[in-house]
């Protein structure tokens, strides 16, 4: 775990005084630890599978540990579902679909979904703490972003449940059946909400597989669903690794597969279900361009760059991982970015002042380290924020590279960590060309004071989401999804309903 910190370069004195002009973000008034207490949080020592409204022991007989990536402590053991377990879950979902859910009036489905939304709000504090313990993200993010958005997705889709006939003008809709949903580890509960809420609203039943490293909040959500007294089998949660996911995606009685995760796994799933009746939506990787023009609101753009790449340790598929900056303001932006990064606080995810938490897993840390090493080998100049790294757990300091070119690996491959690659451009069209010069197309950001330029860029950029003078903003009313190898299908908004409906 020995990371070498790039030493902060001495600043150039700009005046004849010879004084060093550098801001000092030191210890003059340091913040004392402000930990969110996990005392009232209850995590079971072991979790079974939630199938048919009951908690069952896996037929596989196997369990695996889930750990806190900031301390490497074991939090709990969860069931490792095999193909038989998945089959049980799909059968339960099918029965629930035939018996209850497909026959229920939309207004009645809505009541259940609203109930889940309210319960998430009531238990928000507990869920936020568990999210930060299991996944490593700062409590301020799980508290202020993940949890409110998760509840908002249930509220929003509950509202649609009895209005689906008006969603696609003049066209009738019907539900699909059983949805098999596989979600990633970067926003565990929020991704569960993105998947489950529209599926239920549209009259489908669900088998959801949370990510191997972050199963706990999905299991707490299963308890909420149990307490909300949904008919048994409407939502089933099966935990496990890649094999569990493969069994779910390839199960013959699943009508719809929804996957969020890496592009390589997404491709495997698409291959596996090719030629079947199954519907598919994929939300995969990204290498988003965050484009800063010289006429941008510079200080706010610097905040937006930080939010774009260091939010959730960069474990964000739509992260602004390629900074395209107009060459005339490159040096200014880099200087300001360094000073802004000097104030980022890395440490315990449960500390309310932590800005950057732990890397989600050992494997992901190794992936980040490998790509950062590749960037250094290619001669790019690395800068890492001067954060002391805790001795236990998985950590990587906020980092950026300058001097990269479009052909650098760090400019092409998704790093999925707190690592920014800075590139320059000269004209808007060059910015468009470079932004689109990627196999991905999930998101992009544009920073300029000129409204017309934002609209011009938005028409040219091949990305599913384009933010103007902001970044990483999410709302259940706004469709989210990608172009090219970032996947297809939309989640959220009216457009997101189409992924869970047959539109006749």
């Amino acid at each position: 775990m020995a990371h070498t910190m790039t030493k902060r370069e001495s600043e150039t004195a700009l005046e004849a005084t010879g004084a060093v002009v550098a801001l000092d973000f030191g210890k003059a008034w340091d913040y004392a630890p402000a930990p969110e207490s996990p005392d009232h949080v209850h995590i079971d020592p072991r979790y079974g599978l939630f199938i048919g409204g009951r908690w069952v022991t896996p037929r596989s007989g196997r369990f695996f540990q889930t750990i806190n990536p900031s301390t490497e402590e074991v939090l709990s053991e969860v069931a490792d579902a095999n193909a038989q377990d998945v089959d049980d879950a799909v059968k339960a979902a099918r029965e629930a679909y035939d018996t209850y859910w497909s026959r229920m009036r939309g207004a009645d489905r809505a009541k259940y979904i609203f109930r889940i939304a309210r319960a998430i709000q009531e238990k928000a504090r507990e869920l936020a703490i568990v999210e930060s313990m299991d996944g490593g993200k700062p409590i301020k993010e799980s508290r202020d972003i993940d949890l409110p958005l998760a509840a908002a997705h249930f509220f929003y889709h509950a509202g649609w449940a009895d209005k689906l006939d008006y969603a696609f003008h003049g066209r009738r809709v019907r539900s699909l059946g059983v949805a098999g949903q596989i979600i990633p580890w970067n926003f565990p509960l929020l991704m569960a909400a993105w998947k489950i809420a529209p599926a239920l609203a549209c009259g489908n039943t669900v088998v959801l597989k949370p990510a191997e490293t972050t199963p706990l909040t999905a299991l707490l959500l299963a308890k909420i669903i149990e307490e909300a007294e949904l008919p048994p089998g409407v939502v089933n949660i099966v935990t496990g690794g890649g094999e569990t996911g493969a069994a779910l995606a390839s199960h013959p009685d699943v009508n719809k597969v929804a996957f969020t995760g890496s592009t390589s796994v997404g491709k495997r799933i698409q291959r596996a279900i090719a030629g079947t009746h199954k519907r598919l939506s994929l939300e995969l990787g990204g290498k988003a361009a965050n484009i800063v023009f010289a006429d941008a609101p510079i200080d706010q753009a610097v905040d937006g760059i930080v939010n774009g790449i260091y939010f959730n340790q960069g474990h964000v598929c739509c992260a602004g991982s390629r900074l395209l900056v107009e060459e005339s303001v490159h040096d200014t932006i880099v200087k300001k970015l360094r000073d802004r990064m000097a104030t980022l606080r890395m440490g315990s995810p449960l500390d309310k002042n932590t800005d950057v938490g732990a890397i989600n897993s050992k494997a992901q840390l190794a992936r980040i380290q490998e790509l950062v090493a590749a960037g250094e080998e290619e001669g790019c100049e690395r800068y890492s924020a001067p954060c002391p790294l805790p001795s236990k757990g998985y950590w990587f300091p906020p980092t950026f590279f300058t001097g990269a070119s479009m052909s650098s690996r760090i400019a092409r491959e998704e790093i999925f960590g707190p690592v920014l690659t800075i590139l320059t451009f000269r004209t808007p069209d060059e910015a468009v060309e470079k932004a689109n010069n990627t196999s991905y197309g999930l998101s992009a950001g544009v920073w300029t004071d000129k409204g017309a330029k934002i609209f011009y860029m938005a028409t040219k950029l091949k990305a599913g989401v384009i933010w103007g003078n902001t970044f990483n903003k999410f709302d259940p009313t706004s469709p989210f999804g990608g172009y090219k190898e970032s996947g297809f299908g939309r989640e959220g908004g009216r457009q997101g309903l189409a992924a869970y409906l047959e539109v006749e």
Binding site: L14, V21, F25, A32
Partner: protein, 348 residues
């Protein structure tokens, strides 16, 4: 008016280190590479009367993102020792203020005593940085504060509106300094700012700076009257370029007065000026800061925008009257574990 400014603009471009590039035949080989300063905005010029400020285009400000950042810094969790140290710092940074038509020597004297010893049972608390009064009360305040470190700040330049001829404003300033004021809190001509007469704004500040002599100059922008963050940014840069030692948000007579986003923006201008020149300008939010919690929020803005060097009364002040007792109440709460009654703190 406009045309004459354009002319003076060109004349002054060389003053701020830029030259018009005219391509001549022997320039085709290109100029030798030059070390360009990264931050060109607001190079300091302490011009006298008649100075003009060049046309300038400061970076744009995005209101939504600015407000979001200011609000996010209000979420820092400050506990225990951090809170105590912050509260003590806030007291040391306070310009205890009374600016009323009904101010009297008695009132001002009591305020001076409060500034010297904010908490009668704990002499380690305080003193405040300064007291801020009208010119007529400078002599009283100066006498009452003799032997202490508490400075006397006087408002001047036809405070609060600034709607008087320049010679009156300058006389106002000189008299306040003659009476013994250590610091002058002037107001800018907001009317001139809003019609785009930046030269007038600049010249008046520069002239006031000259009239201040040794006294420190704080320039009040009255941000609540400027209407947008872009204009506030421009006014901040003008004030600094014209010689301000501090820039200050408000008179306290207009709502809204100081707000976290406005303060953050002004701190960012100060940062750009520091990058460009190495010179540290001070900041004073005034008006509307009433609670200890608000004061700590402002300190977080300073700490995370400008860093350690600005966490001192030399470079950051609060202009307030009601704030002190709330901070004292929080200090006593930290010390004793209980909130004291409001009447346990002197109301001066």
């Amino acid at each position: 008016m406009v045309a004459s400014h354009a002319v003076s603009t060109l004349e002054h471009r060389s003053d701020i280190g830029e030259t018009d590039e005219v391509l001549e035949s022997d320039d085709l080989a290109g100029p030798p590479p030059q070390e360009q300063p990264l931050f060109k905005a607001g190079a300091p010029r302490r011009g006298g009367v008649g100075s003009m400020y060049a046309l300038f285009a400061p970076p744009a400000v995005d209101a939504v993102a600015l407000e979001e950042r200011a609000a996010s810094l209000g979420k820092r969790s400050l506990k225990g020792e951090t809170k105590l140290a912050g509260l003590r710092l806030a007291i040391a940074m306070m310009d205890l203020t009374t600016l009323e038509g009904k101010d009297t020597p008695g009132k001002v004297s009591q305020l001076c005593q409060k500034a010297r010893t904010p908490l009668s049972n704990d002499p380690s608390v305080g003193p405040c940085a300064a007291i801020c009064v009208y010119p007529n009360h400078v002599v009283t305040a100066k006498a009452r504060l003799a032997g202490s470190t508490v400075k006397v700040a006087s408002v001047a330049t036809a405070f609060p509106s600034g709607q008087s001829p320049l010679d009156i404003k300058l006389a106002d300033t000189r008299r306040a300094v003659d009476f013994g004021a250590d610091e002058i809190d002037m107001v800018i001509d907001r009317g001139a700012m809003l019609v785009g007469d930046f030269s007038k704004v600049f010249d008046e500040i520069a002239a006031t700076k000259e009239a201040c002599g040794p006294a420190h100059l704080k320039v009040i922008l009255e941000t609540g009257e400027l209407g947008s963050y872009d204009v506030i940014r421009k006014a901040s840069e003008l004030a600094i370029a014209a010689g301000a030692d501090f820039i200050k948000t408000s008179t306290g007579k207009i709502q809204p007065a100081a707000t976290p986003p406005v303060t953050l923006l002004m701190l960012e201008v100060i940062r750009d000026h520091y990058y460009a020149s190495g010179r540290r300008i001070g900041m004073k939010p005034a008006g509307g800061v009433r609670t200890a919690k608000q004061a700590l929020h402002y300190l977080v803005l300073v700490k995370e925008t400008l860093g350690d060097a600005w966490l001192t009364p030399d470079l950051f002040r609060f202009g307030a009257s009601a704030l002190l007792n709330d901070v004292l109440m929080q200090l006593e709460k930290q010390r004793t574990g209980n909130y004291q009654a409001a009447d346990d703190f002197s109301k001066d």
